[in-house]
Subunit: 212 residues, 2 copies
Amino acid sequence: MIYSLYYWPGIQGRGEFIRLALEDAGAAYVNRSPGKNPGVFAPPYLKAGRLVIAQTANILFYLGPRLGLAPKSEARRLWLHQQQLTVMDWLDEVHAVHHPIAGSLYYEEQKREAKRRAEDFRSHRLPKFLRYFESSAGAPFSYVDLSLFQMVEGLRYAFPATMKKLESKFRKLVAIHDRAAKRPGISRYLSSGRRIAFNQHGIFRHYPELDR
Amino acid sequence: MIYSLYYWPGIQGRGEFIRLALEDAGAAYVNRSPGKNPGVFAPPYLKAGRLVIAQTANILFYLGPRLGLAPKSEARRLWLHQQQLTVMDWLDEVHAVHHPIAGSLYYEEQKREAKRRAEDFRSHRLPKFLRYFESSAGAPFSYVDLSLFQMVEGLRYAFPATMKKLESKFRKLVAIHDRAAKRPGISRYLSSGRRIAFNQHGIFRHYPELDR
């Protein structure tokens, strides 16, 4: 099976959560630019044979057991999916920090509102998500850990000062990050040309005024 | 099996999407106030025997085939789940209209930002979601249709003027709403004391200044 992942090739974004799972497993895939697809609200979407699947967490739910990154029992799969959906909620909030008013407006057009939102994110929401995932750490390695790796990487890029202050309180989460980075497929991927660098077009963006 | 749904009993909120599925199927359930649950980021969550499941769409994914509101084939279940996750994204945006800065602040503390966000929601995001679900209407009845019923009901409450202008373009979606309302379980539920009225504490709130 050669998977086709449809996501903009110049940004990590939500597509990166899928790429990490495919790369970790050494799966055969091609990354294509998304076209018009009537059955899909927004990228990323995956073509797997005749199946077309959208929504990041849904794609990972499908891929998980097939890539050896999730167990097959229903109860465990539901639990992992619950965790992944919570990661996606967290990611939405990261995006909303620099786009609190509208995705169709530039950051500069909503900078004042972004500063207010960033303050709440740094002091309440970010620590709340970190605490939650710290307390639920400890399960066998899964695609959720790859997503947590990406969250830690992205947050370090976007909020370096804030993360520097917070990280020491969340050692289990940092350990998950470090463990993921050392996996053969991930380590190969990160040092390859396929890993796109963080930039100011993705979800994780570094605006010093939002990090303080 | 008696299900326990943990969600605040005074608001519809995300819990209502679960309640509608349980009520439609005539399932035995009790609604309890959420307590501290270490494995759950936020309500709603469902107890089903020894299973504890959180995240609204995840709960519906689990309940769907058990309540006769989803087929059993994997491809169809993934498709319905994708639709449900898109409904949840839509619902998040409805909430963000009156709380663009922080859930922990009162509406009055972010009213100016809310007005800006509402303008974008009414003119871009709301029509985009309506178009998407209008174009994908037509599948056999499922829990997703119950959620679309709730979206139409909620949007009519929160944005009566905007919906009055838009609805005539989305007849299939309105037909889904009307069909859901007439189902025996739903019709019984809506006229019972169990259906909580919309109010200014839930996700759908009517602020005339946001509806224009």
